[in-house]
């Protein structure tokens, strides 16, 4: 909500809301002590219909040959390689299709319990997410 991921709207008459659930994970250090608790809200992607909720699911990634080629060029030219990591990469993607999701368990709005969330950003397990 804070990231502008969705907004609450009254359900449109022909709306098929996608379900969602919380997935909890405990991250541990190699020695077994707990690092952090992670909670992640995932959509039930299998509720989605092709053509209606998503159109393209292809996501562009590189070929292994490209990785090796670039590494070879780097060695030949004597450049340096740096690495970056995007935090919560999937939540950065904007959705092109309109997708409605039911309100997450435990976080329903008490004044408007029947409203659905219209997603602005991609969330995990939606079919089109790796593309966004």
């Amino acid at each position: 909500m804070r990231h502008g991921t969705w907004e609450l709207v009254p359900p449109p008459p022909d709306c098929q809301a996608v379900g969602c659930k919380w997935v909890f994970r405990v991250k541990r250090h190699p020695n077994g002590s707990i690092t952090q608790f992670k909670a992640r809200l995932v959509a039930k992607g299998y509720h989605q219909w092709p053509g209606l909720d998503y159109s393209e699911t292809f996501s562009p990634v590189m070929k292994p040959a490209t990785i090796r080629t670039v590494h070879t060029i780097v060695v030949m030219q004597g450049w340096s390689l740096w690495q970056l990591d995007v935090n919560n990469a999937f939540l950065h993607g904007n959705l092109h299709e309109t997708v409605y999701m039911s309100q997450p368990l435990g976080f329903q709005d008490t004044t408007t319990p029947h409203h659905v969330c219209r997603l602005n950003k991609a969330i995990y397990v939606l079919k089109q997410v790796p593309r966004a």
Binding site: M62, T66, W82, Q83, V86, N87
Partner: protein, 359 residues
């Protein structure tokens, strides 16, 4: 990819993992800074681990290996304490789909083969064996299972094997194309394979079962030549995109004289009528001087190990030639180097660059 007069910058993106490189460090820090404004980024410093790939810099060179990934795979399959073997596949074994032995757990088999396929990132040596085993994924038997186990035992022995990328000044491209005629016992199709080098560094390879039956070895070789041609043409377009000048047309080496001659002589042979598409495709590329097809002695054929199981002696001499090296000594040297590094440069590289970005 960004390119202007003197500045060249590559950005590799794999979903949320990014690798950035280029010829102007100040421009790179600028790009990282700009990206940091758009997305919340974590800067991880010099590349050392990317998609299960360990990247170890040595003197002027780079060593790529997947030992962590192999270790996880061996742990998953409970093979950490298995006995070593020195070749991925026995020469004598003839794999068939139905061989009279009992079927085995196909889910576990598929999961292991899937894990092995990802290893082809740095392990061309197991490429043939993995491809062969993948052909039985739908109906594995006890025999296939034992071959898969042998492959894991080979991996245990060669856990530190990886690609050593050498510093070279010129960028010429060579592709070796080879085929094993009628090597599949179920349907008598052939196996085509190629391996491409940028100077002496291997960058692309494949081993694949052909989709049609070849009636002569020339035909099988010619099909593999066509596959190798299309890959090399794709690589040429990649080099062009990366602004890498290739001084002269890539060489395509094939150990079959008949196939070599067919690629540039405009003769019509009655035996080759049915592979006209491949025939004309390669000829067209050769005529336009995009590629050069040449003959190579079978003994110097470096793609040999991608078409059939070889003896461990022959395999290791080939692996040395294609630039694979055992990384154990490299890793040991690296461990020795680390203390001297840290005394010269008290800041770890990650923080070093973070301060540059903030400044």
């Amino acid at each position: 990819m960004y390119h202007s007069a003197a500045v060249l910058c590559y950005l590799l993106v794999y979903v949320d993992d990014l690798v950035i490189t280029g010829n102007t460090p100040s421009f790179l820090t600028h790009v990282i800074h700009q990206l940091g404004i758009q997305f919340s980024l974590k800067y991880l410093g010099t590349l050392y681990y990317f998609l299960g790939l360990d990247v170890i810099p040595t003197k002027n060179r780079l060593f790529l290996l997947q030992h962590q990934y192999i270790q996880d795979l061996l742990f998953k399959t409970n093979m950490q304490s298995a006995k070593d073997v020195s070749s991925p596949m026995s020469i004598s074994v003839q794999l068939k789909l139905i061989d009279g032995t009992a079927p085995c757990n196909s889910t576990e088999f598929r999961s292991i083969i899937g894990g092995l396929q990802y290893l082809s990132l740095t392990h061309p040596d197991i490429c043939f064996a993995v491809n062969k085993l993948s052909q039985f994924m739908h109906q594995p038997t006890v025999t296939h299972w034992s071959v898969a186990k042998r492959l894991l035992r080979y991996l245990k022995k060669t856990i530190f094997l990886g690609i050593h990328i050498n510093h070279q000044s010129s960028f010429d491209v060579t592709t070796f194309a080879d085929a094993d005629w009628a090597g599949n016992y179920d349907d008598r199709t052939s196996t085509s394979a190629y391996i491409t080098f940028l100077r002496i560094n291997p960058i692309s390879w494949s081993s694949k079962k052909q989709c049609a039956v070849a009636r002569s070895s020339t035909e099988a070789e010619y099909r593999s030549l066509a596959t190798a041609t299309s890959e090399t043409v794709w690589l040429l377009s990649l080099f062009k995109e990366l602004c890498l000048p290739i001084p002269f047309p890539p060489r395509l080496l094939c150990d079959n004289l008949g196939a070599t001659h067919l690629s540039f002589n405009p003769v019509q042979l009655s035996r080759m009528k049915h592979i006209q598409i491949d025939l004309h495709f390669v000829r067209d590329i050769v005529q336009r001087k995009i590629l050069n097809v040449q003959h190579v002695n079978t003994h110097d054929q470096l793609a040999d190990f991608l078409t059939k199981p070889l003896s461990s002696q022959r395999l290791h001499s080939l692996l040395l030639k294609i630039g694979l090296a055992d990384g154990l000594s490299i890793l040991r040297e690296r461990i020795k180097e680390i203390p001297t590094d840290s005394t010269n440069n008290p800041l770890p590289p990650a923080q070093d660059c973070a301060t540059i970005i903030q400044a």
